[in-house]
Every structure is written in structure tokens, then in C-alpha cells.
């Protein structure tokens, strides 16, 4: 093993030179921080888990809940996040979400196609019996 494996090895030997030491600093607002934080408005449904007292002032609004997966997510967020069922229902909702999107994509041509095939089949049976 080389004595100095990389340039400036041990330059951060002194713990106080490390940005995360001590782990907790004396409380003070960070540079650039602004109070009060105004409350974000949202036109779409955003869930808060049951274990959290209030809504935070800022949040994401991507991919609002929809359909059956949205209902499942609503149920999941009705439980606080220390309960396994909160997470298990969310994982289930994720799989349902994927199937909902697949159906939505194939639906426009798959539903008419299946309908036409079924009608043709019925007609064929009726005709062949006659």
C-alpha cells in the first residue's frame, strides 16, 4: 500500500474540517431561506399520510391519482406511514396503475375488435344451426 495513495490524502483528517461534523448544528436559517413560506395552491388531488398533522407549504403535483389505483392510494394514505399496510396497498396500487394504463392504451381498438369478433361468432353459430 502506498503511503500517499492519492494527492492530498488525509487533507480532511481533522473532523471539524468535515462539513457534516457535528451532525447537528446550532440552529440557524440557511442562506437564502425566506420566511414565512407561502402556502402552495393545487388544483389536483394530493395525498397526505394519516400520521402527519398538517399539509406542508410546498409539494409536488405530478401524476394526480385516477381510477381504481387512485382509490387504492386514497385508502393507503388513510393509514399512517409506520403501518405496513400503508406501503403494501401503495405497491398494489402501482401494479393496478400499470394495468389501467395498458387497458387505456389498447382499449380504443381492443374493445371494438373483441365486440366484432363476439358478434361474428354469435352470428356464425346461429347461421350454422339454421
Amino acid at each position: 500500500m502506498p503511503d500517499r495513495p492519492i494527492p492530498d490524502a488525509a487533507v480532511d483528517l481533522e473532523p471539524s474540517s468535515r462539513p457534516g461534523v457535528p451532525m447537528e448544528r446550532t440552529p440557524q436559517p440557511m442562506p437564502g431561506a425566506r420566511v414565512p413560506i407561502r402556502v402552495q395552491h393545487s388544483d389536483v388531488r394530493v395525498f397526505k399520510h394519516k400520521g402527519r398533522a398538517g399539509f406542508p407549504p410546498v409539494f409536488g403535483t405530478a401524476q394526480p391519482p385516477h381510477g381504481v389505483s387512485g382509490l387504492l392510494r386514497k385508502v393507503a394514505y388513510g393509514y399512517p406511514d409506520h403501518l405496513a399496510r400503508h406501503w403494501m396497498i401503495l405497491l398494489l396500487a402501482d401494479r393496478v396503475d400499470v394495468w389501467e394504463h395498458r387497458l387505456a392504451r389498447v382499449g380504443p381498438w381492443a374493445v371494438p375488435t373483441v365486440g366484432v369478433l363476439a358478434l361474428t361468432g354469435l352470428a356464425w353459430r346461429k347461421w350454422s344451426r339454421a
Partner: protein, 382 residues
Amino acid sequence: MRALTYQGPFKVRVENKPDPRLEHPQDVILKVTRTAICGSDLHLLHGLVPDTRVGHTFGHEFTGVVEELGSEVSQLHKGDRVVVPFNISCGTCFYCQRGLTASCENSNPSSDVACGVYGYSHTTGGYDGGQAEYVRVPFADVGPLKIPDGMEDEEALFLGDILPTGYMGAEMGEIKGGETVVVFGAGPVGLFAMRSAWLMGAGRVIAVDCVQYRLDFAERYAKVETVNFREVDDIVLYLKELFEGRGPDVCIDAVGMEAEGSLGQRVLGLGLKLEAGAPTVLTWCIDVVRKGGNVSIVGVYGPPWNLMPIGTAMNKGLTLRMNQCNVRRYMPHLLQHIREGRIDAKGIITHRFPLEEAPKAYHLFAQKQDGCVKCVLTPGHA
């Protein structure tokens, strides 16, 4: 705009979606110039993170140019080049005030396990990420760091996550000088943890992985000794023996929930989902490290639980330290390390793709093909 979107487990594609807009007076909209794929994005890709919705845009490592400003933003100006921490932190809450920006209380309604994170499912707040042409950046005066003139975006890119995360991994090992350090995982975070361990005065650093090209890369890049755990009978006994039968002083877990190495854990955690992934590396860390030693966890594990030998840790008197990285506080210090040549951050990039080819990049990275260590994506306009 063009953006990567999640379509279900193992499937992403690039498609058109609406541009992000300012939703809060402290927001900016950033025109993304470089964005990276992170190892933790693979947990999302593989459908392991609860509340990952179809259409979600991943990406929590990015640089960009300020395009649009919220009415309360005063420190940034249109045209500024910035690198953004993956944590969305307000700067004023109980935790931010104490430097624990990864625990910010003001950016995630969905769970208490983490603060808001860009492109990391609705469990971390439901923010679309940076693997897109544009991204919404909240609390813009607090998080983003301006990239100095004369410095390329790619040189600063990794200040947003993996470099601070690797550094913090070594820091939580509480190295005082001369310690023996074993880093599990020779991926990007592991590589930076190894370099950082040297900077903190480690006496010996060993990388453990099962992907040989990554171990070779670590040997060159981080000047460490390497062990391929597939080539030894029992990695725990092997490593203990290497350090006088006691084990090393410090073990760092830079792998997380999708570890190789234990069929049982993979079946339970990744197959049956009866635990949150496979905590094989964490188990090894606890078994390998010497009594009274230090285990540092920066690998990502999910809720709600994992099977790990807490009794062994207790009986051995270990110190376990772990956290999502509080990125912002590390940025100035590590920027200095990059500028002074102590860490060649850009040097881990092995692949560059246009954003349009992101699915291919994900595949290459996930399958560890073509010597891939780190993929960087460039949106069409950049």
C-alpha cells in the same frame, strides 16, 4: 417538452409531456443541461419504491440554466448555471436549521421517511425529476449552487448527489486516521466513498463487489485493494481474516436494497416482497466489522422493514450511522476538492447519451454492460 417517463416495472420511455410551471413564489424553472442516471433510479425502474406512478419522470441529479423565476426568488437570475441537491429543503424548518436538510419537514406530505426529492416517486413528495428538458425547482434560493465560471456542468453535476453521498458515507465511518475501511459496492457512490476515506486519513481501503470491471475501475480510480466476493468461499470470513481475524474498523454499505450475494434475501425481498429488498450487504457489514467498529449506510433501503442481524450489532457494540445525504452542506467543500484536483468527479462518467436514448442507457446501466459505471444524459436543446 421531452421527458423520460415510467411505464411500469422495467419499462421507461421518452415522450412529450407538458412543461413544468411555477407553482410557488420560491420556485424556479430550470432548463436542464445535464442529467445523470443514479443507482437508486434502478430501484424505481424495478418497481420497488411504493407509489411510483405511471408517467412519473425520474432524475434527481441534474444541472441546468435558470429559465423562469418565481416572484420571491432573489439570489438566482435568469441564465444562471446551477447544480441542484436531490433533497428539496426549505432552509428554515427545525431540521434544515440544524443542517439536516434531508429531513426537511416542508416539502413532502406523503411520508415522514424522507423529505421531497426530485423524480423519486410520490413517497418523496410527487415531484417530477430532471431527466427531461425542464424541471421545477422549489426553494430555489436555498438548494441550488451556482456553477463557477470556467467550470463545466459535468464537473459540477455530481455535487447534487453521489459525491456528497459518498463523502458522507466515509464521514459517518468516523475515521480518525489510520483506520481500515471496507467499502461494499464499487459503483459511483462507493468510488467517491473510497476517495473520501483516503481524504479523511484512512490507512487501508478495500472495495468489495462482484462485478469485475467495476473492481478494476475502483483499483485505478480510487487506488484501493479489491475483493470479488464471488471468488472467495465466504466473504465474511475472508475479510475478517484479512484484518487479523477481527475485521476492519469501518464498513460502508454503498449498495442498498438490490444486493447480490444471498439467494434467500433476494427471494424474500425482491421476489416475494416480504421485506424491502435484499439487505445482504448490511448483514455482511455487521458481521465483518470488528467489535466496537463503525457501520455506515448510504445504500438505499425502502420501508417498511428488513431482516438484518440487529442482535449481532448490539452484542458487538457497533456504531451504526446512516442517512440520506444532507447534500447542501457538503457542496462548497466538495466543489473545492474538485477545483483543486483532489477528486476527479467527471472521471467516473463512462457513457453519454442524448435524452432520447435514455431507455437504452437505463438498460446498459442496469445490466452492467459495456463497462458502464455512470451514464449522463443530455437533453436535445443543451
